[in-house]
Symmetry: C2
Subunit: 62 residues, 2 copies
């Protein structure tokens, strides 16, 4: 499967925010995340880097 | 494979920018894109929406 996990970078450490993300959409100052189970999250963050082969989306706080 | 294709939304139409993207990284006002063949692109755009199951990254001009 091709989903990715989102991690929030906080004080040099990565905190897992949501697994198996299928949809990501910036909304004003937030990011909307949705995973394959229908779980949704909005977080005040922006994308720092994504690596789809590693299934990783690294976010940083706005 | 889990790469995605990036499309730039321009006047309501989607223009294919780069296929099989593995890495995406915002850099100031640009987006850095790299695909599995090592091809790299920088484009003045931001993410509008991503759907990883559809392997689609839709960008819009800044």
């Amino acid at each position: 499967m091709c989903e990715a996990n989102a991690y929030l970078l906080k004080e040099g450490k990565e905190e897992l925010i949501l697994e198996d993300i299928s949809v990501l959409r910036p909304e004003k100052e937030e990011l909307y995340l949705q995973n394959i189970f229908g779980e949704q999250k909005r977080i005040k963050a922006r994308i720092k880097e994504m690596n789809l082969l590693d299934h990783r989306i690294v976010l940083e706080e706005v």
